[in-house]
């Protein structure tokens, strides 16, 4: 049928294929069936043209499910795509592979996801996270292994991934609260930097999490705001599972209110009771993590995305202490200006909130006034909110507003207004009479719907309190009485009764008849009179009509009245009639005028279930707060980044060293630190940079001190292993020290309890102890998997504590090995531009954000990149192509003896430059180079970065090579400053001193330097700019020590600066390689003097 299309697809020309695909997509878009083209289309899955390819992908996602066998033909292409250099191709291959919903390929999908989650590109990892729910819906049996993947991905620190993995978590295993523990603080801190959709997912997940982990903040303190807030009492008790005794007390006192007895004595005695109870109750202290969550989510109220604002609002509503919930009001009211649909949903939620806690929105009453342009359902919801907000103080304003609404031409809205008035009347006793009068006057409205609604409502109101309002009944009865007379109001009543015949509003008819019947006893003098007359004049007719009415409600009512007024007609015996009267006229409970939103609060605010007031598929009930606080220490663990670990494993297995000496294992740790610390200046949110630096500088001596302490404590922790009592203790003592040093009151408050110390650290830029801690863990793991028996016994204990058994890991590695060849880890062809150097900046950015409340005691641990870039090729000599290189100080992924060099090519000519690659290399002895991936093309005016690895053999000799483009060749050389030949090593002080002892004599360079005041405070920074080393935690505040080792030979380089008060410093550099030692010595000396 579509022969022409098939023909076009079979052609060799891309533009024909593209044209054909576009037409096919058009068919899909219109909903036409294009499945018969499947064989022709699937052939083109390997097409080089990217646009054709994308459209084929779109087609496959739509139809592969229907043609599973043919779809399998495309799988190999995707598998190839998964290994592409280009991260976009890898990601889209993974995406399509997971989207085609062919059950046979579940194992392949699983492998691909596992592969993707360790990918270097966060974008691919994000795609892998997206693939998890797809696989889960295809094969729920994979749940266990998927949970494992989610667990690993949760430890990813990039903001790009965080949102997606939380969505996957929500889809696959929302019940696995235990997975979140370790990541709770990280997620809180990352929250601001995650994209808006991720924020929503994380917020709703954390709400549920917090409900299981923290105690109810309103549980104990609700006694105080109880009277202040003036809320409807019965609801109060639904929400608080407070002490049963208290509840009882309150119920008693509310009973007293309603019973209208003198209650002053009782009240005072109950007050004292309460006080006693209050004393008995433990004082509520909010968990610092609970506080952290509230604090981190608050700024999101200013998001432009209404869903984010709503997510924060519901979080505060469900988790916040009563007195803090009001912060969300302003933001929610602002949303009312938004789109119609947003308005509708937000109003729904506000209606629910006001029902429970009207205090929040009282100040914004006027924002809920109805405008003439609002659609009906918005108006109705605004009415609802207004009604909920009505109190004694504002009722007059609200009623005046209602009066204008009653005149509206939208009759449905008027009917709702009347109901709203009635609800106000019942809720606030002071205005009941006014409202009734108003409603009665509405009986004279010309619109039938209005009159009918008023009658129904009046009936309900009268029923609530008949004794007080017998005058109104009398009045109404008199209206009936006066029917013959024909004055205005009765005419209306007659009109309504006459309207009975029109069978329009059965409810109203029933109400009139019911009223007359039910309350005849309150108006004894009139009722019989009326009825007699009515019988004569109307009732007969009415009842007759009623008898044959279509509505059984009306038939019922009229039969009822018939019993009452015409006993003789059916019941001959007067006695029975008397009894019948007693039975029938038994006092009935008054109907309660309720908000239609009542009961909705059972659903989590902002959820779909709340919007439809029914449980939606997959709705997870919001759990109640636990009675007792679960162990909060579960959240204090931090874990390492996933893909790096896997790399370590990999390079570990590939380098296949038989003996791994402790020193070599050390090598990797500093690299990690360097990675996790992108250059300070370049991180985006580092607003506090300048102040930070000076702060850290001025307190550097003190902070370093505490630094070492924390380092020690982390050691002692790992030593103590699973011993739980010792760990916290050491932390507590530390926290005291921290407290002394931190001036910021916020932190002081936060560090009230010992636990918060870690959290406050993790909020800080360095994350110092934590990072070091897991650095160690990685090291341990490395040692054991590298089969070195040299790990000490105390280290092993901590390894067991944190690491999954290494066996399993290696096993998985084997099965994925075919997909995981090293090519996967070739540099991303598009690495982030200069201003956002590291992939990890977003994470850090959030850490930086939290910094303002953190204290001053953090010091650069190691490895900030010097950030200096050197010119490789000038654009004049390069004919428009210029190149720069710099040392990002990240661990080199090609080999661990290599040093990463980041090249940035810029095309400043006006034509694209193609095929940039390395040509001839003139290698000095021993020099090794891993070329950067060939760059296809650089558009004019744009630039691309690329990384290469160079093994300099611990010499500073330059590397000379050719950079070739399609047409030209340029000879360039890369020079390395001596400081970059070193990789940081973290070391304990004792070890440092030992090593220093060994490396004496020839290997030692000593000298004195006069360090100017200005530099003294930033010594760490200065040194680290020059040499890529790691700070050694020192117990003396005036001695700075740094450790590193050369990249190739692994020779240890030690650097110590003994700063005396006069500003004179003793500088010692020890290094096995004398040349390097002396060069470093010279450079550091120079740096310290200038």
């Amino acid at each position: 049928r579509y022969d022409d299309l098939k023909n076009m697809l079979d052609q060799n020309k891309d533009f024909l294929k593209l044209e054909a695909m576009k037409r096919i997509i058009g068919m899909i878009a219109k909903g036409k069936n294009a499945s018969s083209l499947f064989p022709a289309v699937v052939k083109n899955v390997a097409c080089k043209n990217i646009e054709v390819k994308k459209l084929v992908y779109v087609y496959l996602e739509r139809y592969a499910e229907e043609q599973q066998d043919l779809a399998l033909l495309s799988i190999s292409t995707f598998q190839r795509g998964l290994k592409d250099h280009n991260q976009l191709i890898r990601a889209s291959a993974l995406r399509v592979l997971s989207s085609i919903r062919v059950p046979i390929i579940v194992p392949i999908m699983m492998l691909a996801i596992k592969d993707g989650m360790t990918d270097m590109s966060p974008f691919v990892r994000k795609t892998a996270a997206h693939a998890i729910p797809k696989l889960y819906s295809l094969d729920p049996d994979q749940k266990e292994s998927l949970i494992e993947i989610i667990d690993k991905l949760l430890s990813d620190r990039t903001t790009l991934v965080a949102g997606s993995v939380v969505m996957a978590y929500q889809e696959v295993c929302p019940e696995r609260v235990d997975l979140v523990h370790r990541h709770f603080r990280k997620l809180c801190n990352l929250l601001v930097d995650v994209d808006e959709w991720g924020q929503i997912a994380i917020l709703s997940m954390l709400t549920r999490y917090a409900r299981t982990q923290f105690t109810d903040p309103n549980k104990y303190i609700f006694l105080i705001p109880f009277y202040v807030e003036n809320e409807t009492i019965p609801h109060q008790f639904c929400t608080h599972r407070g002490d049963v005794k208290i509840k009882h007390k309150f119920l008693k006192s509310t009973e007293m209110y309603s019973a209208d007895k003198p209650f002053y004595e009782e009240e005072s005695s109950s007050d004292s009771d309460e006080e006693k109870i209050k004393e008995k109750l433990p004082k509520y202290v909010m968990d610092p993590d609970h506080r952290l969550l509230l604090k981190c989510s608050k700024p999101l109220l200013q998001s432009r995305n209404s869903a984010v604002v709503m997510a924060v609002a519901q979080l505060y509503y469900h988790l916040g202490p009563r007195q803090e919930v009001s912060v969300v009001a302003k933001a929610l009211v602002r949303l009312l200006r938004g789109r119609r649909e947003v308005q509708a949903v937000v109003l729904q939620n506000i209606a629910s909130m006001t029902l429970m806690r009207k205090g929040i929105f009282e100040a914004f009453l006027k924002s809920f006034y109805v405008r003439s342009t609002d659609p009906t359902h918005i108006r109705v919801m605004k009415l609802e909110v207004l009604t909920n907000l009505a109190t004694e103080s504002n009722i007059s304003i609200i009623l005046r507003e209602f009066q204008t609404y009653v005149r509206s031409s939208d009759k449905q809205f008027v009917a709702h207004t009347i109901q709203a008035i009635a609800r106000c009347a019942t809720n606030i006793e002071e205005v009941t009479d006014t409202c009734l009068a108003g409603l009665v006057s509405l009986l004279s409205n010309r619109d039938e719907a209005v009159v009918a609604e008023s009658i129904v409502v009046i009936k309900k109101l009268l029923q609530m309190n008949p004794s007080q309002h017998c005058d109104i009944i009398k009045h109404m009865a008199r209206l009936v009485d006066n029917i013959q007379v024909g004055s205005l109001p009765p005419r209306i009543l007659r009109q309504t009764i006459v309207k009975n015949t029109l069978l329009k509003v059965p409810m109203a008819k029933a109400s009139i008849l019911w009223l007359i019947g039910e309350y005849s006893e309150f108006v004894p003098k009139i009722a019989p009179d009326v009825l007699r007359k009515a019988t004569k004049l109307l009732a007969q007719y009415v009842l007759q009509l009623g008898k044959y009415d279509q509505s059984y409600d009306i038939r019922d009512r009229s039969r009822f009245i018939r019993h009452l007024i015409m006993p003789s007609s059916e019941l001959a015996n007067g006695q029975i009639h008397k009894h019948a009267k007693k039975i029938l006229l038994a006092p009935k409970p008054a109907p309660v005028l309720e908000s239609p939103f009542k009961g909705r609060d059972a659903y989590q605010l902002g959820s779909l279930s709340h919007a439809i007031n029914a449980e939606a598929n997959g709705y997870q009930k919001l759990p109640d707060f636990p009675e007792t606080q679960p162990d909060p220490s579960v959240r204090t663990v931090e874990v390492k980044r996933l893909w790096e670990i896997s790399q370590i494993e990999k390079s570990c297995s590939s380098s296949s060293r038989s003996v791994v000496e402790p020193v070599t294992t050390d090598r990797r740790r500093p690299g990690r630190t360097a990675r996790s610390k992108p250059p300070k200046k370049k991180s985006f949110y580092s607003d506090e940079d300048s102040s930070e630096e000076s702060e850290s500088g001025s307190s550097s001596s003190g902070s370093e001190d505490s630094e070492s302490d924390s380092g020690d404590s982390s050691y002692s922790e790992s030593e103590s292993g699973s011993d739980e009592t010792e760990g916290p203790d050491s932390r507590v003592s530390d926290s005291d020290k921290v407290k002394k040093k931190t001036v910021t009151p916020a932190l002081a408050a936060a560090s009230d309890s010992g636990r918060s110390r870690l959290s406050s650290f993790s909020r800080k830029k360095g994350m110092v102890p934590v990072i070091r801690q897991f650095k160690m863990q990685i090291l341990f793991h490395f040692e054991s998997s590298g089969e070195s028996g040299s790990s000490s016994s105390e280290e092993e204990s901590s390894e067991e504590e944190v690491k999954p058994p290494p066996k399993r890991q290696t096993k998985r590695k084997k099965e994925t090995v075919n997909l995981l060849d090293l090519d996967d880890f070739s540099p991303p062809s598009v690495s982030p531009s200069k201003s956002s150097t590291s992939l990890l900046t977003p994470m850090l950015a959030s850490d930086l954000q939290g910094l303002s409340l953190g204290g001053a005691n953090h010091v650069e641990m190691a490895g900030t990149s010097s950030g200096k870039s050197y010119e490789l090729l000038h654009r004049v000599t390069g004919g428009g192509l210029s190149a720069k290189y710099r040392y990002p100080r990240s661990p080199c992924i090609y080999s661990d003896t290599m040093i990463t060099v980041e090249l940035e090519f810029t095309n400043s000519s006006d034509s694209p430059i193609q095929n940039i690659h390395i040509g001839e290399k003139k290698l000095q002895a021993g020099l090794k180079v891993h070329d950067f991936a060939e760059i296809d093309a650089i558009e004019p005016g744009s630039s691309k970065t690329s990384t290469m690895g160079i093994d300099f053999c611990d010499t500073t000799q330059p590397l000379v090579f050719d950079i070739c483009t399609k047409s030209r060749k340029f000879n360039v050389s890369v020079k390395i400053p001596v400081g970059e030949l070193v990789k940081p090593v973290s070391m304990a002080q004792t070890e440092f001193l030992n090593q220093q002892g060994i490396l004496s004599g020839m290997n030692e360079n000593k000298g004195k330097v006069n360090v100017p005041e200005t530099i003294q405070s930033s010594i760490n920074k200065k040194v680290m700019e020059i040499v890529n080393v790691c700070i050694v935690p020192s117990t003396q505040s005036n001695i700075h020590r740094y450790a590193g080792k050369t990249a190739h030979g692994g020779s240890v380089l030690l650097l110590s600066i003994d700063l005396s008060e006069s500003g004179e410093a003793k500088l010692i550099v020890n290094c096995d390689k004398m040349v390097i030692g002396s060069m470093v010595f010279k450079q550091v000396k120079e740096a310290l003097t200038n």
């Binding site: 533009f15 997206h130 649909e341 003439s372 409205n445 919007a611 029914a614």
Partner: protein, 416 residues
């Protein structure tokens, strides 16, 4: 999350569908059409409709319905906000969001939808990132593409996607660097029949058009920042700086965007730049209609584009009015009187008066029309907000800077 999306026009035709999971039959839209039948106006359709197996979440905008099919529990606002974001993106790509342009550009639309959602979850929504992935169509590019065989689709991941400033693309270059900010304030008010203000508030937004080379870091400060206590920001604005120093510090996206929007609530004093005197009477088979508009608190600025409209009760069959300035029209079907005053010259306040004819034999209406007022005042921010200065860091060139103020009527209603 979002299973499928159906685009429905005002004639209730489904003109495009897209499925992210297993295709859902079109017949699901019948539930939507049923709800549409019941609704009195297209505006009145409930945003969430539940059907036996799915839930429909609908947005209505520019006379198009976007009906999304949801399978499971999800925050409705999430979906609503996302559907609007899709529409925003269409507007950005095609300058409007209408059935015509969507049909014309169905391939780009499909590619966009594919990029924006993965398995129903949002993937890339930042317009700067999308524009790098899929180039917006324009005639020049179409010609070039057909000649050179290049495509509109990028084969590399936009750098923004990975960086922590996803809203800005890298390598931006302009010959002339400029940054313009429009402070637009809309006055929402309800004035009751006696002329007193029932409710008034200001909704302001700062829309920016920034065309700057490189990675500029801008700081916008105000003379009176304390006025803004309820603000929402574009993600690029640093919260911390605002909280601590009350300045807007940001690396801007390239091109047009809304930097922030603010709300000055009813608690604060809002001066109303206009007053309306009115007199509407019904008597027998006719009625009187009279409206006079005048300005006040405009700080010497002139009110422009003044337009006054009122929807008459349905009993009004015709009007016969005489404006002192401008012209009026009456739509007999909608019963809407629109009086286009135009520029309000200083001097005598413009007025309109005349007779209403009512339908014979029917009692006179009870309700009186609500008068809606539209106006515009250039060079005035009615709240008094003023931008102090704009500074640029981390780039060396000197940009052209400009700030424009404008006050408009938002939902400005006078009850009669």
């Amino acid at each position: 999350m979002i299973h499928s999306l159906f685009m429905v026009n005002s004639h209730r035709d489904i003109f495009m569908e897209k499925h992210w999971k297993t295709a859902v039959k079109r017949s699901i839209c019948d539930y939507f059409f049923n709800a549409l039948e019941k609704a009195s106006s297209p505006e009145d359709i409930p945003p969430v409709i539940s059907t036996p197996h799915h839930y429909l979440i609908t947005v209505y905008r520019d006379r198009l319905y976007f009906v999304s099919v949801i399978g499971k529990e999800v925050q409705p606002l999430f979906v609503i906000e996302f559907l609007h974001r899709i529409m925003d993106t269409f507007v950005e790509y095609f300058n409007e969001c209408s059935e015509r342009v969507i049909k014309e550009n169905y391939v780009v639309v499909y590619e966009l939808l594919e990029e924006m959602l993965d398995n129903g979850f949002p993937l890339a929504t930042e317009s700067n990132v999308l524009k790098e992935l899929i180039k917006p169509p324009n005639i020049l590019r179409t010609v070039v593409n057909t000649v050179t065989g290049q495509s509109n689709v990028a084969d590399h991941l936009p750098t923004g996607q990975l960086s922590n400033i996803p809203w800005r693309r890298s390598g931006v270059k302009y010959a002339s660097n400029e940054a313009y900010f429009d402070v637009t304030e809309e006055v929402d008010a309800i004035i009751d029949r006696s002329g007193s203000t029932v409710f008034a508030e200001i909704h302001g937004s700062i829309d920016a058009c920034v065309k700057l080379t490189g990675m500029p870091d801008l700081t916008l400060s105000f003379v009176n920042p304390r006025m803004l206590d309820d603000v929402s920001f574009h993600p690029c604005v640093r919260f911390k700086r605002w909280e601590n120093e009350k300045v807007l510090s940001f690396v801007p996206p390239d091109g047009n965007f809304t930097l922030c929007s603010y709300h000055i609530g009813s608690q604060g004093m809002v001066s109303i730049p206009i007053y309306v005197k009115h007199n509407v009477h019904y008597a027998g088979s006719g009625g009187k209609f009279e409206v006079t508009v005048g300005s006040r608190h405009t700080m010497g600025k002139i009110i422009e584009d003044l337009r006054i409209s009122a929807v008459m009760p349905k009993q009004v069959t015709n009007v016969n009015l005489l404006p002192s300035q401008g012209e009026y029209s009456f739509k007999p079907v909608e019963k809407e009187v629109v009086w286009d005053v135009g520029r309000m010259a200083p001097g005598k306040p413009p007025s309109i008066k005349g007779i209403l004819s009512l339908q014979a034999g029917v009692p006179a209406p009870e309700e009186k029309p609500t008068v809606t007022v539209h106006f515009k005042i250039q060079q005035l921010a009615i709240s008094g907000l003023r931008v102090n200065r704009l500074d640029m860091y981390s780039e060396k060139y000197k940009p052209f800077k400009g700030v424009k103020y404008i006050t408009k009527a938002g939902k400005f209603q006078v009850r009669t």
